[in-house]
Amino acid sequence: MLDLFPLLNSLRIALISSIITFFLGIFAAYYIAKVPRALKGILDVILTLPLVLPPTVVGYLLLRILGPKRVVGKWFLAIFGIKLTMTWWSAIFATTVVIFPLMYRTARGAFEAFDRTLAYSAQSIGLSNTYIFWRIRMPYCRQGILAGTVLAFARALGEYGATSMVAGYTPGRTATISTTVYQLWRTNNDVMAFRWVLVNIAISFVVLLAVNMLEKKERQSRKGGE
């Protein structure tokens, strides 16, 4: 019988980090569009870096910050008595950083396609910027943002490098699907490793199918809107 802990752990980590990234990514995409061009270029590079850096480099940097002897980690341990690494939720830090660029870039693309005259006309009839953001801009960019979220979720589910460094592999505590596969393969448990591989492929398949359907729907609604 398959111990389902890695599946549940992977799902909760992916879900929570996707929710965090959803807000962070949209927030960054919205505000970076407004900063001066030179600064925008630099910020854009910094925010996209985790997409091209090896996850082990992300993991290393995170340990440099969150480790129990490092600035933030030490402070948390002293004040709250909480260790930020090697717990199941430590993986959330890792996956959030790794998937952030996916959400940020898709949200930015969706916002760039937004027809600005809609915001202008809304302002001039007196609608607040908050109303415009949630009731006009977000619905307009909905499918693009949704596709970005699902893509980020899929990537979070498959994150290995940074997660294994920050959360480690402890069966029943921090094990995720990807770290479990590695561990089972390393210990020559090929049958179990293969089962988890199948589980992983099945989930990723469904998620990517959802992304494709959303993107197709978006193209159709764009066409219909013209």
């Binding site: 809609l118 302002q123 001039s124 009839i125």
Partner: protein, 247 residues
């Protein structure tokens, strides 16, 4: 109900320099595309910020660079109709128009009555549940105008309102828009590159060239200056056509 504009704005090589005033009339702002007409409207609406100058509407200072006054577009009460009408695609006709009632404190009942009334007067009642993409160009324009008027602006600004319509509909909508402006009764600015259109709809005309407006002409003065003559088969203002003198 007076508008006073005296602004400057620099866009690289392009310099906008607009001085104009209007009082309870329809002011035509005429010029070639790219001469700064739309930009002028955006400055008045608060979407673009001028570098220097002053904009006053009915005694309220909307913008004054010297005293650092720059009201948000929401507070300016300038109704601006965009070329593409800018209807919210995720809302029905009724929801689009209702969005125009959200600025002022009022009960939901009052809002609903206003929306239903204006839909009635614009002939949109049967289309209340339609989305913008399901409407014809003329219906979209009516919805956009209704949404602006229900927000009770102090000035109506129309940016090339007929450019997105085919010629037959254009003729029809021109009459409708003239009627809307007349009922509105306050100052209106009408931007166009079509001289005949401007002549038919405006009381006075400001010529805009390379970002500059210096003076406003009466229609007669403008005819002389633009070297045009009127051809009209009868006295219906819609049938007035302007042509250059040479032809």
């Amino acid at each position: 109900m007076a508008l006073l504009v005296d602004i400057e704005k620099c866009f690289g090589q392009f310099m906008l320099r607009v001085r104009l005033n209007a009082e309870n009339e329809v002011l035509g702002l005429v010029g070639k595309s790219g001469c700064g007409k739309s930009l002028t409207l955006k400055c008045i609406a608060g979407i673009e910020k001028p570098d220097r100058g002053k904009i006053v509407l009915d005694g309220v200072t909307l913008f004054d660079s010297e005293n650092h006054v720059n009201l948000t577009p929401q507070k300016r009460r300038t109704g601006l109709l965009f070329q593409n009408y800018a209807l919210f695609p995720n809302m029905t006709v009724q929801q689009n128009i209702r969005a125009g009632t959200l600025r002022d404190q009022q009960t939901e009942k009052e809002r609903k009555r206003k929306v239903l009334d204006i839909m009635e007067s614009f002939g949109l009642s049967d289309l209340a549940g339609h989305f913008p993409r399901q409407l014809s160009g003329g219906q979209q324009q009516r919805t956009a105008l209704a949404r602006i008027l229900v927000s009770e602006p102090q000035i109506l600004m129309l940016d090339e309102p007929f450019s997105a319509l085919d010629s037959e509909l254009k003729f029809h909508m021109e009459a409708e828009v003239r009627d809307v402006i007349r009922r509105f009764g306050k100052t209106a600015i009408f931007v166009s590159h079509d001289r005949g259109e401007a002549y038919r709809l405006s009381d006075r005309i400001a010529m805009m060239q390379d970002g500059r407006v210096d003076h406003i002409l009466s229609k007669e003065e403008w005819l002389l200056e633009s070297n045009s003559v009127i051809i009209s088969t009868d006295s219906i203002p819609q049938n007035v056509i302007l042509v250059p003198k040479e032809s």
